[in-house]
Symmetry: C2
Subunit: 545 residues, 2 copies
C-alpha cells in the first residue's frame, strides 16, 4: 500500500553509489584494477573458505585457548592458525617484497640457537645460577672468544657457577640440570629469552612500555650472536631461504652495523671475526652480504627457480640514541659505503623505541647535512624513517611523522599513528609514501590488542600505499609474511585475496628497485601470481569433483 | 661550518605550518575560536597538572594495580582517577549536554538497589539456591507484584528455596546467608549483577562478543525495576540530579518504552503501575517524565541555580529485533506520542548489539514510511541511529553507517568504525553530523583496550563534531561525564581543557534544542564556563601564594 510511494529502488542505487565512492581509493577498487575471471573466482573461493572457518574454527571452543575470534592475539592463536586451510593457501601465495625487517630479529629463534651451538667460539653467561626459581627471570648473554680463551666450566645450573663468567654454549647445554629439562630445557630457556611469549605479551608485560622492555631484552640476547661473523653470514642465508620458502622474492633489510658510538653497552663493539677477537670492517660485512645474496641467486637459477628470488638490499640503520656528533661521523661512513656498494645500500633509517629515545627533530642538522652531502657526492640514500609507532597523540613518536615527511622519507616504518593526521595522510596519498605496516608486530608490542582494532583499513580506504611487513619475526614467531597476511585477511569482510595480491604488487612498486631490475621482479611476481590463482581454482574444482 | 648552508630556520617554519594545517579542522584550532587570556592561562594550568600527575600518579607503582598508565582500563583505574587533582577539577566543569544515555542504565547500581528496597512490591527470584559456589554465576530477576500476592518465603540462600519462586526483596536481603556476607553480601551480589567488574571486562569476558553477554545480563536485572512506575519516576529524578551534580545541564535520553512486540522475554510486558499489576500507557509515562523534569527545573530556579538545569528530552527507542510489521505499528505509536508531546519527543533510534541483531537496511521500508508519515503529519522526529559500534570491517554494524547517513541521521550513536570510511567522514564533517562518542563504554565493551587506542583524535583532527557521552553509566560506573572527559584529557598531548570546553559547547550546538531555548542553554553554559575558568586561575594563584 504505502510502500508504493517509497522509493526503495532509488535508495538502493544511492547506497551502492555511496559504498562505491567510500571505497574508491582502495587498491583493489574495480575502477583502478581490472581483475581476470580466474582472479575473481579465486577470490570468491578464498572468501568462502574464510567464511566457513570463521564458524568451524573461530566459532568453536578450543581447549586452553579462551576468547577465540578471527584476528585474535597472534601468539595465542598461532597454533590454531597453522591448522587452517586459509593459512595453507596463503603460504603458497607469492608475497612480493618484504620491506620492513630488522636483520637482528629476522631468523627463527631455534635456528639462531642451532647456529650458536655450531660455533665452539660462542660462550654464554648469566648474572646468577640458573635454577627453578631464577630460570624464568634470567636472560643469558652470548659472546665469542678466541680459541685460546675457550672456557669449559661445568655449567650454569651448578651451585658453583660464578655469576657473569663464561661457559662454552655447547657445554652449558650438555650440563644443563636435568631437573630443568636437561639440554631440551636449555633450548626452551634460550629460545624463551630470544622471543616474546603469550604470557609476557598479554599478561606480565601487557603495556607498550613493558613489552618493549622484554623486546629489548630479546635483542640483547640475539645481538652478540649476530655480531659474530660466521653466524652473521649463516643467519643471513637462513633468513633469505626462509623468505623464499614463504614466497617472498625480494627484501630490503634494516641492517644495524653496531656503531661504536652507541651508549647501548660499552662492552659491545663492532662485529667479531671468525677468530673470536678481530673486529670486522663494514666493508667486509657488506662483501659477505653481497656474496650470500649472489650465491642464493645463482643456486635458485640453477634450480630453475629464478623467479623466486630477485635479491636483497640494505637499509643502513643507526640507533636513535647516538649523539649528533657521532651521527655526523656515522653518516659519513654510510656515504663512503654507498660509494663502494651503490647497488646494495638503498636507504637510511634511525631505529629504537621512538617514545624512549630521541625524536627525529633532535637530529635535524646532521640529517639535513647528510642530504646535502649526498648531493655533493651525487648519490641518493633515501630515508625510510620509523615514525608514529605509538599510541601517543602529540607525543614524541607521533610528532616524528611530521619530521619524517618533511625530511622526505620515501616510505614510513609503521606510521601507526598517521591515522590521526589528515594533512599527512593526504601527503602520503599524493606523494605515494608507502606505509610499512607490521600487523603482528603492532599487536605483540601492544599498539593494538587484536587485528580488528588495527588502523590498517583506514589507510587502505584512504588510498595510502601499504606494504605488509613482519618487522622482527625472530622474536614474534611470524616467520615469512603468511602470518601477517592471514591476520589481515581474517579481520575484514572487505579485504579479500585480491586485496592482498594488490598489496604484494605494491610491495615491489614501492621498493627501491628501479628500471630493468624492477621490471624483472614485477614480471616474475606476475607469473607466479597467475600460477597461484590457477592453483586455487583447480583445488576447488578437484574438491567439488 | 656546514650548518651555515643548511636552512634550519626554513625547516622550522615549514614544520610549524605543516602542524598547523594538520590541525586546522580541530574544534580548538585558533583560527576558528579566539580564546580569552584567562582561558589560555587555565589551559596551561591544567596541562601542567596533567603533566605532573603523569609522573606522580601514572608513573608510580600502585599496590594490586599492575600496568598503570594514563587512559588505562577504566574499571581498574577508577580508584586512582578519583584521587587525582585533574579529576577534581573536571567534576567542577560545566559539561553542557549529555546526548547519548540509555535510561535503563542511567543510574548508579547501588541507588537502583536502594530504590528497589524501598518498594514492598518488588520481589526477587533466582534459577537456583544462592550459595558460595553459585553466587558469582547467578543473576537475580526482579518483578513487581500486587499487595495481595506479596511473598515472604524465607530466602534465596536457604536449601529449601524453590528455584524461580519470588521472595520479597527486603526479606531476601534480611535473610541472606551470613556466610555470604548477610545483607551487605546481598547488596554486593545484586550490584555485581547490575554492573560490569574489571575481572569480567578484562578477564573472563575479554572480547566484544562475551562482554555483550554480561552487558545484556545486567540490563535484564535492571529492566523490571525500571518498568515499575514508582521506581521509573524516582530513578529518572535520581539520574537528572546526578547529571546536575556533575555539571550536565541538559540531556536527551534514549527511553525504551518496552514494546510488546519484542521477542526479548515474553514474561516482560509494558510498564507496571504502582498497584503492581496494571499496565501503564506511554502517555502516562511521558506525563510523569514531563513532571519530573518540570519539578527539578522549578526547584533549581528556587535555589537560584537555574543555569544548572535546562531540561531533558526523549529519544524514543526500540530494539533492533522487532519485525517490520511490529515496527510499523510502533512507529505509528511514536508519531501519536510526538503529536501529544511535541516538546518532549525529539528523535528516534533503534538499539541493541548491532552485530547480533538486524542491520538498519532490514528496516528500510518501515523507516522510509516513518519519514513519509512525518511529512504527512507535519512533525519532525529525526533519527539518532546507533551505527558502527563495532570492530568489524564491512560487517553488519559497520555497514549500518551507510544506512544511518542515507536515512538522514542527525547524529550517530558511537560511529566507532566511521574512521574507516573517508567518504562518510567527509559527509559528517560537511553536514555537521555529530558523533556521540562514548569513550569508557567503548573501552569496557572491548572496542578499544584503553583510551590511547581510541579513534577519537582521528574524528577531532578531521573536523567531525564530537560530543562525549557516558552511554550506560549505571553498568560501567562512569556516572556523569567527568570520567569520560578525564580519560580523553589524559590520553592526548594535543587535547587540553579548552578542547573539552569546545566539545561541551558543541554538545549544546548539536543537541535538538532550537531557538530561544537553545540560546538560553548556551548563555547559561557560557556564564558557568567563565566562572569555572576563573576558579582554576584563582586556585593556581592561591596555590602559588
Amino acid at each position: 500500500m504505502l510502500s508504493n510511494s517509497i522509493d526503495i529502488a532509488g535508495y538502493e542505487r544511492s547506497r551502492v553509489q555511496l559504498i562505491d565512492e567510500d571505497r574508491a581509493l582502495r587498491v583493489d577498487h574495480p575502477r583502478t584494477v581490472k581483475f581476470t575471471a580466474a582472479e575473481i573466482e579465486a577470490d570468491r573461493i578464498v572468501r568462502n573458505i574464510r567464511s566457513l572457518e570463521t564458524q568451524s574454527i573461530w566459532g568453536a571452543d578450543h581447549e586452553d585457548i579462551p576468547h577465540v575470534f578471527p584476528g585474535m592475539e597472534f601468539l595465542t592463536a598461532k597454533d590454531i592458525i597453522v591448522k587452517t586451510k586459509l593459512f595453507q593457501i596463503l603460504t603458497r601465495m607469492p608475497k612480493g617484497a618484504l620491506l620492513h625487517i630488522h636483520q637482528g630479529a629476522s631468523v627463527d629463534a631455534s635456528v639462531m640457537l642451532r647456529l650458536a651451538l655450531q660455533q665452539p667460539a660462542i660462550h654464554i653467561s648469566c648474572p646468577n645460577v640458573i635454577n627453578a626459581s631464577t630460570i624464568l627471570s634470567t636472560s643469558p648473554r652470548f659472546k665469542a672468544f678466541p680459541e685460546d680463551r675457550y672456557f669449559d666450566a661445568y655449567g650454569l645450573t651448578e651451585l658453583s657457577y660464578i655469576p657473569n663468567t663464561w661457559v662454552s654454549v655447547q657445554k652449558a647445554r650438555e650440563n644443563f640440570d636435568s631437573a630443568l629439562g636437561g639440554p631440551e630445557g636449555f633450548d626452551r630457556w634460550v629460545v624463551g629469552a630470544m622471543t616474546i611469549n603469550p604470557t609476557e605479551a598479554y599478561g606480565s608485560h601487557n603495556t607498550v612500555k613493558k613489552i618493549w622492555q622484554k623486546f629489548g631484552d630479546a635483542f640483547m640476547v640475539l645481538d652478540p650472536l649476530i655480531r659474530f661473523l660466521p653466524i652473521w653470514a649463516e643467519h643471513l642465508r637462513a633468513f633469505l631461504l626462509a623468505c623464499i620458502d614463504d614466497g617472498i622474492s625480494y627484501t630490503e633489510i634494516r641492517t644495524n652495523t653496531f656503531a661504536k658510538c652507541t651508549s647501548f653497552d660499552p662492552a659491545y663493539t663492532y662485529e667479531i671475526a671468525a677468530d673470536g677477537q678481530s673486529s670486522v670492517s663494514r666493508r667486509e660485512l657488506f662483501l659477505i652480504f653481497d656474496k650470500v645474496v649472489n650465491d642464493i641467486r645463482s643456486e635458485m637459477k640453477v634450480q630453475g627457480r629464478g623467479d623466486e628470488f630477485i635479491g636483497a638490499k640494505i637499509i643502513y640503520v643507526l640507533q636513535r640514541f647516538v649523539d649528533n656528533k657521532a651521527l655526523d661521523a656515522e653518516l659519513e661512513q654510510c656515504l663512503s659505503m654507498k660509494l663502494e656498494f651503490p647497488h646494495l645500500i638503498v636507504g637510511f633509517d634511525l631505529v629504537g623505541d621512538e617514545e624512549a629515545h630521541k625524536p627525529l627533530i633532535d637530529y635535524l642538522e646532521p640529517l639535513l647535512r647528510f642530504k646535502q652531502r649526498q648531493q655533493e657526492l651525487g648519490v641518493d640514500i633515501p630515508f625510510f624513517f620509523h615514525a608514529g609507532e605509538t599510541l601517543g597523540d602529540g607525543s614524541k613518536a607521533d610528532m616524528n611523522l611530521y619530521d619524517a615527511i618533511l625530511l622526505g622519507t620515501k616510505r614510513i616504518g609503521h606510521g601507526f599513528s598517521l591515522v590521526k593526521h589528515p594533512k599527512l595522510m593526504e601527503i602520503c596519498r599524493e606523494k605515494r609514501i608507502a606505509l610499512e605496516v607490521c600487523p603482528i608486530s603492532n599487536e605483540v608490542l601492544r599498539l593494538t590488542s587484536s587485528m580488528p582494532m588495527h588502523p590498517l583499513p583506514i589507510f587502505m580506504n584512504n588510498g595510502i600505499p601499504v606494504v605488509l611487513c613482519s618487522d622482527d619475526p625472530g622474536i614474534f614467531g611470524n616467520m615469512g609474511l603468511s602470518f601477517d597476511f592471514f591476520q589481515v585477511l581474517v579481520s575484514s569482510e572487505v579485504t579479500g585475496l585480491l586485496t592482498l595480491g594488490q598489496m604484494a604488487r605494491d610491495s615491489i612498486e614501492c621498493s627501491t628497485l628501479v628500471g630493468e631490475e624492477k621490471q624483472r621482479a614485477m614480471l616474475a611476481w606476475e607469473r607466479r601470481w597467475a600460477m597461484f590463482i590457477k592453483e586455487i581454482v583447480q583445488m576447488e574444482a578437484e574438491y567439488l569433483n
